[in-house]
């Protein structure tokens, strides 16, 4: 009945006797759920925490929570039938070592106090408010499901123009983008706008030897498409200069994260791929480079050194093009479906302050007074200017005012969800300002701080949130429930919801189900000589578990 979920003996007994019902007047939520008798005030029931999202942020938060609070039980909700979010669907297939974090997540999941609920799209399949009566705290770690747009003419074209996010999802076997079918055969030039690590991943996949990729867990159909690719030249274009490109650290708070040196080095070392040297007037002179902080200095030195591969013998090439803003996309007059070039407007750095990271970037004008423009040949175009989070439907029922401008759930930096309009308990900060927390609600990862940083930053961030939650639980001595007053949380977690979910016809997946899918994927992969062969469709995954 409990399927391995950890519920205390008392709860188990009570589950069998759902006869004592609360008066409906007690229900404060629009979503009326019949609840079991509450025994939240008794200290011996576990603290139930819902984590929404099973990517690195969710798992690192769960890990920390389970280790720091021995009486916490975590239910992790995931939209897909399978866990790991961007560790599975975002990390490039040729970076298997980065996916090693999944080992840790798998270990977290072996805890009897951990419960995975997959294939449930909270907010759409099941109202978020349905969670509230059964949990002591809810932690949102659902990441960033969209990408930012450029807002230029032609961007919405159906062919030859792709979002890097969709492309990454496509080659990683994400069901959502299974049918992207990017056209890589109409010409030799790829243009990627944006200079973050996602852009470099796309460039590397386009430039890599297909046979090297074949052995990774890249989707089969992607290998097939890439093997037919005619792309020979990849331009990674950014609007700023090399020194104004932010280097994300593991605690970077910047909005526009950019590439890391590891990804650049990998691209520079790709066999038979050459790199166009960065023009002298763009790259800072040596004496400036030598005076830079360590990370920037090493990056600039690497860029100045370039690639050892001879452009005459290399079969493919790539470049980093700086100080260009996309203006418009242009199709062939003869073949209206064939992308020809991308028009960029040139930018320039403040001449007085060229080599400062904060140097002002302004549009460049010709002596005629017109904007300086440049056309870059493009047979395929990718936009890669960052991800953004969307509000989950129903967040407002919990009182959360999603910050659409910044694409985050408003929070206090520690992970407690705050209410900018001041609904809820106000608290005075050390500096005298007031902050309003929404008790029991937390967030971690990209939905907390914006889509930036590497896994290490998400880990640190998720740990901070989990520590905060544990601290809040410790200071709330009279009751365990942070979410509502103790009378109102059943503490049953998923066990209190699953009947409702089943009646809606939802077929959720458990950790055991994932293990079967995992085994099936590995077995399929083994037959093809790769680590894993992912199922590209949700139906295929569900078929495995019957």
């Amino acid at each position: 009945m409990l399927e391995g979920a950890f519920v205390c003996a008392q709860c188990t007994t009570r589950l069998g006797q759902p006869s004592v019902l609360r008066s409906t007047q007690k229900l404060v939520l629009p979503y009326s759920v019949r609840r079991l008798s509450s025994h939240a005030a008794q200290v011996d029931r576990p603290v139930r925490v819902a984590i929404v999202g099973s990517g690195p942020a969710g798992f690192y938060a769960a890990s920390r929570l389970l280790s720091k609070h021995q009486d916490a039980v975590v239910d992790m909700y995931e939209k897909l039938p399978v866990p790991f979010g961007l560790a599975r669907y975002g990390v490039a297939p040729d970076h298997p070592e980065v996916k090693n974090c999944e080992d840790k997540f798998t270990e977290v999941a072996t805890s009897p106090r951990f419960n995975f609920v997959g294939n449930i799209d909270l907010g759409n399949d099941l109202p978020l408010a349905a969670l509230k009566p059964h949990y002591d705290a809810i932690l949102f770690a659902y990441g960033a499901s969209q990408d930012k747009e450029l807002g230029i003419p032609g961007e919405k074209a159906l062919r030859s123009v792709y979002s890097a996010r969709a492309f990454v999802g496509w080659y990683n076997g994400l069901p959502e983008h299974r049918d992207l079918q990017p056209d890589l055969t109409s010409g030799e030039d790829a243009v990627i706008v944006g200079q973050g690590n996602v852009a470099l991943d796309v460039a590397r996949i386009l430039l890599s030897d297909v046979d090297t990729l074949r052995r990774t867990d890249i989707a089969d159909y992607a290998v097939e498409t890439l093997s037919k690719s005619r792309i020979k030249r990849v331009r990674v274009v950014g609007r700023r200069g090399p020194l104004q490109v932010d280097i994300p650290t593991s605690h970077s708070q910047s909005i526009q994260a950019s590439f890391t040196i590891k990804e650049i080095r990998e691209l520079l070392q790709l066999p038979s791929v050459s790199f166009d040297p960065i023009p002298q007037d763009v790259l800072p002179p040596e004496e400036v480079i030598n005076g830079l902080p360590r990370a920037q200095k090493r990056l600039m030195q690497l860029l100045a050194k370039g690639s050892a591969n001879d452009p005459h013998t290399a079969t493919k090439s790539w470049s980093l093009d700086f100080l260009l803003s996309p203006d418009s996309l242009h199709w062939s007059p003869m073949h209206p479906y064939r992308l020809m070039h991308t028009k960029f407007s040139r930018n320039e750095l403040d001449p007085a302050d060229r080599y400062s990271p904060s140097s002002k970037i302004t549009p460049k004008y010709l002596s005629s007074g017109k904007r300086a423009m440049v056309n870059l040949p493009s047979s395929v175009f990718f936009r890669s200017v960052g991800y953004k989070s969307l509000p989950l439907p129903g967040l407002e029922d919990l009182g959360i005012e999603f910050d659409s401008r910044r694409g985050i759930i408003p929070n206090d930096g520690f992970g407690r969800v705050t209410s900018p309009s001041g609904l809820g308990e106000s608290q005075e900060l050390p500096d005298g300002s007031l902050i309003t927390h929404l008790p029991g609600l937390y967030c971690a990862g990209w939905v907390k701080r914006g889509p930036t940083g590497v896994i290490a930053s998400t880990m640190a961030d998720a740990f901070t949130t989990a520590d905060t939650l544990v601290k809040d639980l410790a200071t709330k001595k009279d009751s365990q429930s942070l979410l509502e007053d103790p009378e109102q949380s059943s503490g049953l977690g998923w066990d209190g919801i699953k009947a409702e979910a089943a009646s809606l016809g939802l077929r959720t997946t458990s950790w055991q189900d994932w293990q079967r899918i995992d085994a099936a994927e590995r077995e399929r992969g083994q037959r093809k000589g790769k680590i894993r062969d992912k199922f590209g469709r949700v139906e295929e995954m569900l078929e495995v578990i019957g």
Binding site: A9, S67, V98, N100, K104, E107, T249, R294, F414, V454
Partner: protein
């Protein structure tokens, strides 16, 4: 088989945790890890049994440092921490200073790396990439610059990752890349805080 397994589990529960912890603390050579996260032992146990275990652990959290250490650990005992016990007379001394300033002195064998050593001893060090030099989570700071100079130069790959580490210093290294040798006897490394100590200003200005 199942019977013996159950018996083993019962026996494990019967041994008072505190005493096991004391032994652990009292032993100078802590290269053998005694800690087991409570839920790792209880896979087959029934819910009520598990519950008693959980309660016991909740109590023990407050019983001091050793106990806290024992209860921490979601770190992989199976996946990591496979370190070799040093041969008598060949122990290498290494000291970790955790983010709260606590010193943990260990005697380890040649050839083990700092990440494995830390995880085998339940120190708070993450290895998100499993020790393959692909993240910066096992960042350590070598206290003595002289010993730092005795170490092999970090590779480009390691430096690339260190560039991303928070609180990078002149003597920073990745734990997974520091392999113990006799020359490093007496090494002292500090573990930087993984979580940021946020100030009020950190979130008010946003």
């Amino acid at each position: 088989m199942a019977l013996w397994r159950e018996f083993g589990l019962q026996l494990r529960r019967a041994v008072p945790r505190a005493s096991a912890g004391d032994v652990c603390l009292a032993r100078p050579r802590r290269y053998v890890s005694y800690s087991t996260a409570p839920w790792r032992t209880g896979g087959a146990a029934n819910p009520s049994l598990r519950n008693t275990g959980a309660k016991k652990d909740l109590r023990s959290v407050s019983q001091g440092w050793t106990e806290t250490r024992r209860c921490f650990s979601v770190t992989a005992q199976a996946a990591h921490g496979h370190i070799t016990p040093p041969k008598p007379g060949e122990e290498i001394n290494v000291t970790f200073i955790d983010k709260d300033g606590n010193k943990v002195e260990l005697q380890v064998a040649e050839g083990d790396n700092l990440l494995d050593i830390a995880q085998a001893n339940d120190l708070e060090m993450e290895g998100a990439c499993g020790g393959s030099c692909a993240c910066s989570t096992c960042h350590v700071i070598v206290e003595d610059p002289d010993i730092f100079d005795k170490m092999e130069e970090p590779s480009d790959d390691e430096n690339d990752m260190l560039d991303l580490a928070f609180g990078l210093t002149e003597t920073s290294r990745l734990g997974c890349q520091v392999i113990m040798t006799k020359e490093l006897d007496g090494l002292v490394v500090r573990l930087p805080s993984m979580t940021r100590n946020l100030q009020a200003s950190d979130f008010e200005s946003k």
